[in-house]
Structures are given as structure tokens and as C-alpha cells.
């Protein structure tokens, strides 16, 4: 930084294979790497150590704030993000923020957009957000309605694959075989069943809305770029970010970024973008890794390594291959 008044920014090794921000030209650095970042979620919140959602939300909102010259208002579903950011009598939000109930964040966002439209306020932009349970299950109707009307809202789903706030129960975004409190690794079909669940980014794309993307907290540049791109569109937009959850996944807090990266490199979390119903781009896997590298760091998948469950491991490999084929990941 050339400005002598600017503070020193600490950089951390992210666990990715990218070169650090410090080696890039200032204009190419991430929003998070700048002192001008808005700190939409400020420090002092109560997220667990290693929480992927806290990172994802902070990254996404700060990027959206920069893209809109700090003109974001947000609707939030009930869930971890809501709970850990507003422990009475504190708030971690430095942006205008409203939490209503679990299943209506998209509709509340639509209402905000309607109010801005009525006022002729074209500067203020709306983000609605929630976890995967609040998005793919209980909030699905409201989300689909928001897409249908093409309301001017960016919806961001922080997907950690389950209801972590209520004690790690299965959601429709829980991956097959994963252990949750309601899909225990017991019986003939341990963990969450295969042939169940939904991949909401593809469903969002089917609504033919202006923009859909998946993102990962391990690739900050890609995540910020997608959020900024989303803010360049008007109408309904959707981003689903894979956010590892140490509590729910049974993983080390220090492995959050690594797990997010391995999910992508194993093919289990495809990174792609789409516009108006068509996939427009996907991120090639640079160093493809076996799914085991991703699975073995998580206790929720421990049972798939038992000799009697090797068919499950094979089925997970098949899911990765399907993603690789469908989204052209290699």
C-alpha cells in the first residue's frame, strides 16, 4: 500500500495452491486483502472455530459491498449465521440486516426489493441468505417464487450439508452416506441414503434466472468474482457456497479450507456458472484427487472405509465422476 496511513494487513496461508495475495498487483488482490473491505460481519461473533459459513458470508458480503459501493441491505434466514451474529444484546452486522423466520428469507428479500422499486431507489441492492436447510428445504417454496418473479435479489446459500444449528440433522443438501443425527451409520444403508437429496444450483438454473453460480470458501478470488458478477445483473440471482462445518462434519477446524478445496478437486463440489438456463463456464480441476482424500478427514464418512461399506465408497466415486462429466471439470 502506498498510503502511509493505511494499516498493515496480515496475510495467512490459505492452504490452496495459489500464490499469496501479497505477490499480486494491488488491483488484483481480493476484497478481503484490502483495508477498505467493509467488514459486513464484524469480529466478536460466536461462530465455532473453523466455521466455513462465517468465512463464506463475510467474503460474499464484503465483495457485494464493494461491487455496489456499500449499498447492500440483507435478509437472513434463521440458522447458525443468524444465531452466531446476533447474540443479545450484540450484533456483528455492520450492514442493514433483517432476520424474520426460517423459511422466508427469499420472500423477505423480495419484499425489500419491492419497497426499493416503489421508491425508485436503484442504488440500494438486496441480498437474501441462509443455510442449506433454510434454502433447499423449508425455504424452497419462497426461493422458487423469488426466482419465478425474477425479483431483484441475490440469494446466497451457505451449504454445509445439514441442519448444524439444531445439532446436525439431515437436510436435502446432505451428501449421500454422510452421518447425521437423523441418518446414523447403522443398518444396511448407513448414513444418508443414496438416490436422495437435491442439487439446488441446477434447480435454480432451470428457473432461467439471470445468474447462477457455485463457489467455495477455499477459492477467494473465484468466490469474490462470482459475487461481483452477480451484482452486475438485475433480477433473481443465486450462489451456493460450499462451507465446511467442523462440528457437523467431524473435521479439524484447521482443515476447513483444505476440505473446501478437496471437495472441488475430488469432483464432489463442481464449480460452475450459468446464465438464463445455460451453464456458461466451469472451473477445471487442476490437481484431481481421489474422493478418499476428502472423505477421510471427516468423521461423518468414517463408516465408508469399513470393508462392508466399500460399495458406498464406490458410489461416492461415481458421484464425483458424474459431476466431472456433467460440468466438464477435467
Amino acid at each position: 500500500m502506498s498510503d502511509s496511513n493505511s494499516q498493515t494487513v496480515k496475510f495467512y496461508q490459505t492452504g490452496t495452491f495459489t500464490v499469496g495475495n501479497r505477490l499480486l498487483d494491488e488491483s488484483l488482490r481480493t476484497v478481503q486483502a484490502t483495508t477498505e473491505r467493509s467488514n459486513s460481519i464484524d469480529s466478536g461473533h460466536r461462530a465455532c472455530q473453523g466455521c466455513g459459513q462465517a468465512l463464506g458470508a463475510r467474503y460474499a458480503l464484503d465483495a457485494a459491498m464493494r461491487a455496489t459501493d456499500n449499498n447492500i441491505i440483507a435478509a437472513n434466514a434463521t440458522g447458525c449465521l443468524e444465531v452466531f451474529t446476533t447474540p443479545y444484546p450484540e450484533t456483528a452486522w455492520s450492514i442493514p440486516w433483517l432476520h424474520s423466520v426460517f423459511g422466508n428469507a427469499a420472500a423477505v428479500g423480495s419484499g425489500m426489493a419491492a419497497a426499493l422499486k416503489a421508491r425508485g431507489d436503484t442504488t440500494t441492492r438486496v441480498i437474501a441468505q441462509g443455510g442449506d436447510g433454510g434454502t433447499t428445504d423449508i425455504g424452497f417454496g419462497c426461493l422458487s417464487g423469488m426466482f419465478d418473479r425474477n425479483d431483484d435479489v441475490l440469494y446466497i446459500c451457505y451449504d454445509n450439508g445439514g441442519y448444524m444449528n439444531t445439532g446436525v440433522q439431515r437436510s436435502s443438501a446432505t451428501p449421500p452416506a454422510a452421518r447425521t443425527a437423523t441418518t446414523m451409520p447403522l443398518g444396511d444403508n448407513p448414513g444418508s441414503s443414496f438416490d436422495t437429496g437435491k442439487f439446488l444450483p441446477a434447480i435454480a438454473l432451470a428457473h432461467e434466472i439471470p445468474y447462477v453460480a457455485t463457489a467455495s470458501v477455499h477459492d477467494l478470488h473465484d468466490l469474490e468474482r462470482k459475487v461481483e458478477k452477480a451484482m452486475s445483473f438485475h433480477g433473481a440471482r443465486y450462489i451456493q457456497i460450499n462451507v465446511p462445518c467442523p462440528l457437523g462434519w467431524g473435521s479439524e477446524p484447521a482443515h476447513t479450507i483444505r476440505l473446501a478445496r478437496l471437495a472441488v478437486e475430488s469432483g464432489l463440489w463442481p464449480l460452475f456458472e450459468g446464465e438464463r438456463g445455460e451453464v456458461t463456464d466451469s472451473t477445471k480441476i487442476r490437481y484431481q484427487v481421489p474422493v478418499e482424500d476428502y472423505l477421510k478427514l471427516q468423521k461423518r464418512f468414517a463408516h465408508v472405509f469399513k470393508p462392508e461399506n466399500l460399495d458406498q465408497l464406490e458410489a461416492i466415486r461415481a458421484l464425483a465422476l458424474k459431476n466431472i462429466r456433467r460440468y466438464h471439470l477435467v
Binding site: E82, Y88, W93, S94, P96, L98, V101, G109, A114, A118
Partner: protein, 417 residues
């Protein structure tokens, strides 16, 4: 301007005069004509500066209202019956967040059995939800009270539900005086929100509150409703000054204030009671009518005072708490603890059953002879009920509704299983 229009169209015209900024809607009988007409007013350009949203459910409808009101816009919607139940989580949330939303409830029964006709079960399902709940007797009152509802909601930062009887009022075509824009603007100033999502002054709305302060937040909601008791009366008086019409404050009393028998009721049944009052007056029979215009806040003191001279109150309600009895009855009991008053509960008009003056007269005659029971289900077909109770001796007696319909000859008797 005097117009010959239906209650729904009249309400839509009144809403438009209130300059709403956002109207999300989802169709449900019998309120649909209200939002249809508002859509027309917006599409045709007659109502400007208002965003209309066709949403996918009532839950979404009120959720949009929450977002819009949180963003500082004057917001309106309408629903009924199942729609109110479907949005109930948002109903409690809107009042918990103190958002000044106005919603019309075209009162309708709740299923099962599914029934589209009028009663007050829907309104009663929201009686503890923290909304101001007003009832209107006529379509002129519906117009007048909706205009007051916005000012009341915004003065107290509380949501207001205006209850008008489905079909009986919503679909009835009557002569209505629709005020002009100047009058409404003179009564209803632009919204100044208590809280507003604004990028220039960020706030957090809807934070989590634990045991340390939850009681205080809830008490403040109760306090706001108590404040409403005075504000409703003040605004009704001011409305009368500007518009020249008495639309009622917390309650309206019809008849001799010294009457020994007083009917207590809400909504359009007041019209039938007043007609009976006119008829019995010719016979020299006297009774009073206490019309509750405000159900929430519940004007307990005003009710106690209004029933101060009465010896017997007949509380007529179009809903009841199954397993308990009349809700309004028990609340009137509570309000009149200090009165020397015998209270009779009458449940009638359920699921749209006609409330005839003949049936009302039977109640009055029984009361005059001191023979009215504590609880009456008006016009109950006891033979049909007893037949079904008898049938239920058989463990697998089948669906109640279909059995009864067959008994009364609606479902083909030839149907075999």
C-alpha cells in the same frame, strides 16, 4: 363520492387512497376481489408508486410484507382462513418485529371440513398473535376503518388486521361513500417508520433475544396494545370530524343504555341484531347491542362500563374454542367480573350458516323468560349429531363429514363401499 359497489371493491378503492407502496398478494376466497381490483388500479396507472407482487403462497405474501415494511414502505395485503393459517409464522413475526403492516381478513371458516363461507375461526386463530384486530359491521365501516388502520398501525408501529365477514360483506353490493384523496391525505400523513433498513444508518432487525430480555420485549408489545386503546378512540373521533361519519371507536352501542338484556357481538351480525331491535321496539321489547369494533386490544373496561346496567349479556360468536367454548364469551366474563351480570354464550353462523332474525328472536325470547342456557349452538341439528354419535359406537365408522352429508342428503345415498 357515493357508489353502488361490492365491499371488496370498496376496500380496494380505500386502500388505493391510502397510497400503499407495496402489495404482495395470493388469491383466496373470499378476499380475492380486493387484490384483483388493486392489481387493476396499479396496472391501469390509477394507483402510482406501488409495487404489486403475485406471490406463490400466503406465507410468502406476508413475508414480502415483512421485508417491504422493514425497508420502510407502506405495505398492504389481504387473506382469509387457510391463508392466514399458512402465513401464521409470519403473522407472529410481523408483530414481534413491530412492523406497521395492514391486512384485510375476509373472515372465513377453517377446515377440515373445507368450507369457504363466513365465520370468525380464522380471526380467532390469530387472537394471541400481537396484531391489532378490528371488526367491521358494514362495508362503509370497512372503508372507513381501513383508512384508520394505516394511521393506527403507523402511529404505534404495530400490524393491524381489519376483519370483514366473507361474502356477507366482501361480496355484498351496497351504497358506499368513497372519500376523496384530499380527505384521506388530510387524515393519513406519509409514513415515518420507527425502524427502516437504510444503508446510511445500518440497523439490525430481528436479533435473537434470550431469557435476559424476552419478557421485556413481550411486555412492550402488550404495552403498545394498551396504548392502542386510547389511540383508536382519538383517531375515530378525528376521522368523524374530517369525514363526517361515525365509524365507531373501540365499541359501538345500539339501543337503550338501560336495557336489561344486551347482545355482544362482532361484525356483520350487528346488522341483523339491529333489524331485530327495530322490530321488537314496535312490540315494546327492549334490548341493547354492544358491537365490539376492537377485539385486540380487548377493551375490557369499556365493555364492563357498557354492560354496567345490563342484567344479562348474550355473547354471540361465530367461532369457538373446541373443548372450551366461546372465546369472546370467556373474555367478556373476564372483563365483567365486577358486574352483576349473567352471561350466555351463543355459537352461531359457523361455516356460513345463515343467521336469521327468527333464530335470533328465539334466543331473545328465551332470555326474556330467563330460559336461555349458558351455552347454545344456534340452530344445531341435534338429530344428525346424535345419529353420528351413535354411528361412532362402531370403531370404523368412517369420515364424519361424509357421513353427515349423506344423512342430510347431500352425498348420494347409493354410494357403497
Amino acid at each position: 363520492m357515493l357508489q353502488q359497489i361490492s365491499g371488496s371493491i370498496a376496500v380496494a378503492e380505500a386502500i388505493a387512497l391510502c397510497r400503499p407502496e407495496v402489495i404482495p398478494c395470493y388469491p383466496i376466497t373470499p378476499q380475492t376481489h380486493i387484490v384483483e381490483h388493486l392489481s387493476e388500479l396499479i396496472k391501469s396507472g390509477q394507483l402510482k408508486g406501488c409495487t404489486y407482487e403475485n406471490v406463490e403462497s400466503e406465507f410468502a405474501s406476508l413475508s414480502l410484507c415483512i421485508g417491504s415494511s422493514g425497508a420502510g414502505a407502506r405495505t398492504y395485503t389481504a387473506t382469509a382462513s387457510q391463508g392466514l393459517l399458512f402465513m401464521m409464522e409470519a403473522v407472529y413475526n410481523a408483530s414481534g418485529l413491530s412492523l406497521p403492516i395492514v391486512m384485510t381478513l375476509g373472515n372465513r371458516a377453517i377446515g377440515a371440513p373445507i368450507n369457504i363461507w363466513n365465520d370468525h375461526s380464522d380471526a380467532m386463530s390469530a387472537r394471541d398473535a400481537g396484531w391489532i384486530q378490528l371488526f367491521v359491521e358494514s362495508n362503509q365501516q370497512a372503508v372507513d376503518v381501513h383508512i384508520q388502520a394505516f394511521r393506527l398501525a403507523e402511529a404505534l408501529s404495530l400490524p393491524v388486521m381489519v376483519n370483514m365477514d366473507g361474502f356477507i360483506l366482501t361480496h355484498a353490493v351496497t351504497r358506499i361513500d368513497i372519500p376523496n384523496q384530499q380527505q384521506v391525505d388530510g387524515f393519513l400523513p406519509p409514513l415515518v417508520p420507527r425502524q427502516q433498513l437504510d444503508v446510511r444508518a445500518p440497523i439490525t432487525i430481528g436479533a435473537m433475544v434470550g431469557p435476559d430480555a424476552f419478557t421485556e420485549v413481550r411486555y412492550l408489545a402488550h404495552h403498545a396494545q394498551k396504548q392502542a386503546l386510547a389511540v383508536i378512540e382519538q383517531q375515530a373521533a378525528e376521522f368523524e370530524q374530517i369525514f363526517g361519519r361515525d365509524s365507531g371507536g373501540l365499541v359501538k352501542y345500539y339501543g337503550n343504555e338501560n336495557a336489561e338484556i344486551v347482545f355482544v357481538a362482532m361484525g356483520s351480525v350487528i346488522g341483523s341484531l339491529r333489524e331485530m331491535q327495530r322490530q321488537t321496539a314496535e312490540e315494546g321489547i327492549d334490548f341493547g347491542i354492544l358491537s365490539l369494533r376492537s377485539f385486540r386490544p380487548f377493551p375490557a373496561q369499556v365493555i364492563s362500563l357498557a354492560l354496567g346496567k345490563a342484567k344479562s349479556a348474550i355473547v354471540f360468536e361465530k367461532s369457538f374454542a373446541v373443548g372450551m367454548g366461546g372465546v369472546l364469551t370467556s373474555e367478556v366474563h373476564m372483563a365483567t367480573e365486577a358486574n352483576d351480570l349473567k352471561i350466555h354464550s351463543v355459537i352461531g353462523g359457523l361455516g356460513g350458516r345463515s343467521i336469521t332474525i327468527k333464530s335470533l328472536r328465539k334466543l331473545l325470547d328465551a332470555a326474556l323468560k330467563n330460559e336461555l342456557p349458558n351455552e347454545t349452538f344456534m340452530d344445531l341439528d341435534t338429530a344428525t349429531v346424535e345419529r353420528e354419535i351413535e354411528r361412532q359406537q362402531d370403531q370404523a365408522s368412517g369420515p364424519v363429514a361424509e357421513n353427515i352429508l349423506r344423512d342430510v342428503g347431500v352425498v348420494s345415498a347409493s354410494k357403497t363401499h
